[in-house]
Every structure is written in structure tokens, then in C-alpha cells.
């Protein structure tokens, strides 16, 4: 029962973060929100007893992809290409 509630809460947070990342104007906030979506998905996988998938999602989705996006964003800004912020 507790697990179901936790899954529902995590799912709602993940969906809200996903919608926010498509709608918000700032690219930086969008990247962070998509990272939050991945993190929530990874916790959901862990609750669904699949630690292998949870680990992959946490390392790749929440960790590496977010940081590479941020890194690319920094480079775009320093080369004067990004104006949407």
C-alpha cells in the first residue's frame, strides 16, 4: 500500500517535471527538470524490484545526460549562440 502511494507520487512528480521541461522558457531549468524526470523514473524502477534498470537510468538518464547537456549549454553560451535565457 505504502509502495503504491510512493509510486503514484513519484509518477506525478515525474510527469510534472516532464511537462515543465517542455513548457518553461529557460533552457537551464528544462535540462534540470528532465534530469528530475529520470531520477523519479529510476526510483520507480527500484521500487518495482529492478535494481539493474534503476542503476542504468540513474547513471545515464539523471547523471551523465544532464551534465553533458549543462556542459553543452555552457559552451553554447560562451560562444554567444544561445539567446533564450
Amino acid at each position: 500500500m505504502l509502495e503504491t502511494i510512493a509510486l503514484i507520487v513519484l509518477g506525478v512528480v515525474a510527469l510534472a517535471a516532464a511537462v515543465f521541461s517542455t513548457l518553461c522558457r529557460s533552457t537551464l531549468n528544462a535540462v534540470i527538470a528532465s534530469g528530475v524526470t529520470s531520477l523519479m523514473a529510476s526510483i520507480m524502477f527500484l521500487l518495482a524490484a529492478s535494481p539493474d534498470v534503476a542503476m542504468t537510468e540513474a547513471t545515464i538518464g539523471a547523471g551523465l545526460t544532464t551534465v553533458i547537456f549543462l556542459y553543452a549549454l555552457k559552451h553554447i553560451r560562451s560562444s554567444g549562440g544561445g539567446k533564450d535565457d
Binding site: 535494481p51 551523465l64 551534465v67 556542459y71 559552451h75
Partner: protein, 232 residues
């Protein structure tokens, strides 16, 4: 306006396609026959506690080889499109004091943890891919913190290609030693004691090679991004 209508139509269409799956969905309480064979076989034949690793490395080993190949192609593509510019000195601002100190402290721990994950892939959750990504995260951290960090392309190339060749070689060894049906069969090594680090045949070796390959591939992606960016 028409764009918004089309978006809504696309969302409704997707929901209409996926709705039957949701209606018919029920959580299965028993494993299907194929999964039962995998779970039984991983303990009985391969002496392997982690059934997921048994599927990834052995039963669906060819898929894993394909995934590693796809990752290699993606890396090669990134390296091609982000070619090294003539002006090699990229303008990069140094990380803050906190980031620099944290990176110095944490990067070795990331490395050790990544190696732990892929060398214990047959015992605990995780494996080559996850371990490789953790190693690449450690490298990324030091790239972000240090201005004058240079990748050794020689080491990256050697670790990537040697681990790739060794992975295929381990697969072919099964073909040679065990017979024509046994590509990527790990049972030519001794099975060892159940739950020991050196057990389950060649699986720890194969998974470690995958980990080194994934780690060095992602590190070379980072190297390509680092050398491309920053100079405007």
C-alpha cells in the same frame, strides 16, 4: 494555431493506440516459461546468482555485442563531427574552489566504484554499462573542474580497441573450445564457487571488458566535446 491542433491530435492518437495495452494490463504473478528457463539455467548451468547478468552476457550476448557496436559507431560519429579544430587551446573557465576540491576527492572514488560495479556484475546489480558510465562521470567531473586537463588519446584508443577485440576474442574462444553452437558461451572457464568473485566462468572477465570499453568510449566523447567547445 494549426500546430497546437496537430499536437493535440497526435497526443490523442498516441493515447488511442496505447489504450488497449493499458486496459488489458495485469501484473503477472508467475514467470513465463522462457524466464523460468533463464532463472533455472543461470544458477544450474552457469553458476551465476544474478539472472539479469546471465541474460545480458550469455543468453542474449549477441545483443550486447550489438549494443557495444552501436555505442562505438555513435562515438565514432561524434568524434568525426566534432573534429579537433586547429586552435587547440580551448578557452575554458576554471571551476569553483568547491568543484575543484570535490573533483580531486571524488574522482578516484568514482573510478574505484565503477570498477567495483563492473567486476561484481555477476554478483550484484549493475554491470559493464553502468560501471563504465560511473567511470565516465568521474572523468567528466575532473574535466569540469580542471582547466588544463588533457586526455591521453593513446590510452583511450588502446583501452577501447583492446577491450573490444578482447571481448570478441572471448566470444570466439567459446566457439573454438566448446563447439559451433557456443559463441559467447562463458563456460570454458572453471565455474568456481557459487557467489565467489572468481566464479561463473568467463562472465566477470567479459563484463569487465565491456565496462572498460564503455568507460573509454564515453571518455572519448567527453574529450571530443572538450576540444570542440569553448572557442568562439
Amino acid at each position: 494555431m494549426i500546430k497546437n491542433i496537430l499536437t493535440v491530435v497526435a497526443i490523442i492518437g498516441l493515447g488511442w493506440i496505447l489504450y488497449p495495452l493499458l486496459v488489458d494490463f495485469e501484473t503477472s504473478t508467475v514467470l513465463n516459461p522462457l524466464a523460468q528457463e533463464y532463472v533455472k539455467g543461470s544458477a544450474a548451468d552457469l553458476n551465476l546468482p544474478n539472472a539479469v547478468t546471465a541474460v545480458v552476457v550469455t543468453y542474449r550476448g549477441l545483443d550486447t555485442l550489438g549494443e557495444v557496436t552501436v555505442l562505438f559507431l555513435a562515438t565514432a560519429g561524434i568524434g568525426y563531427f566534432l573534429k579537433r579544430r586547429s586552435n587547440k587551446k580551448a578557452k575554458q573557465t576554471a571551476g569553483s574552489e568547491i568543484l575543484q576540491t570535490g573533483a580531486k576527492l571524488l574522482t578516484p572514488l568514482f573510478m574505484v566504484f565503477g570498477i567495483y560495479i563492473f567486476s561484481h556484475g555477476h554478483l550484484s546489480p549493475g554491470g559493464g554499462f553502468q560501471g563504465g558510465v560511473v567511470i565516465a562521470s568521474g572523468i567528466l567531473m575532473i574535466v569540469l573542474a580542471e582547466v588544463n586537463f588533457h586526455f591521453s588519446h593513446l590510452i583511450l584508443q588502446f583501452s577501447e580497441s583492446l577491450s573490444g577485440i578482447a571481448y570478441v576474442g572471448m566470444g570466439l574462444a567459446g566457439l573454438v573450445l566448446l563447439g559451433l553452437n557456443n559463441f559467447l558461451d562463458p563456460r570454458y572457464f572453471l565455474p568456481g564457487n557459487y557467489l565467489a568473485l572468481f566464479s561463473a566462468g568467463a562472465i566477470p572477465v567479459i563484463y569487465s571488458l565491456i565496462g572498460i570499453k564503455v568507460g573509454s568510449e564515453l571518455a572519448s566523447v567527453l574529450a571530443a566535446i572538450q576540444q570542440d567547445g569553448g572557442e568562439a
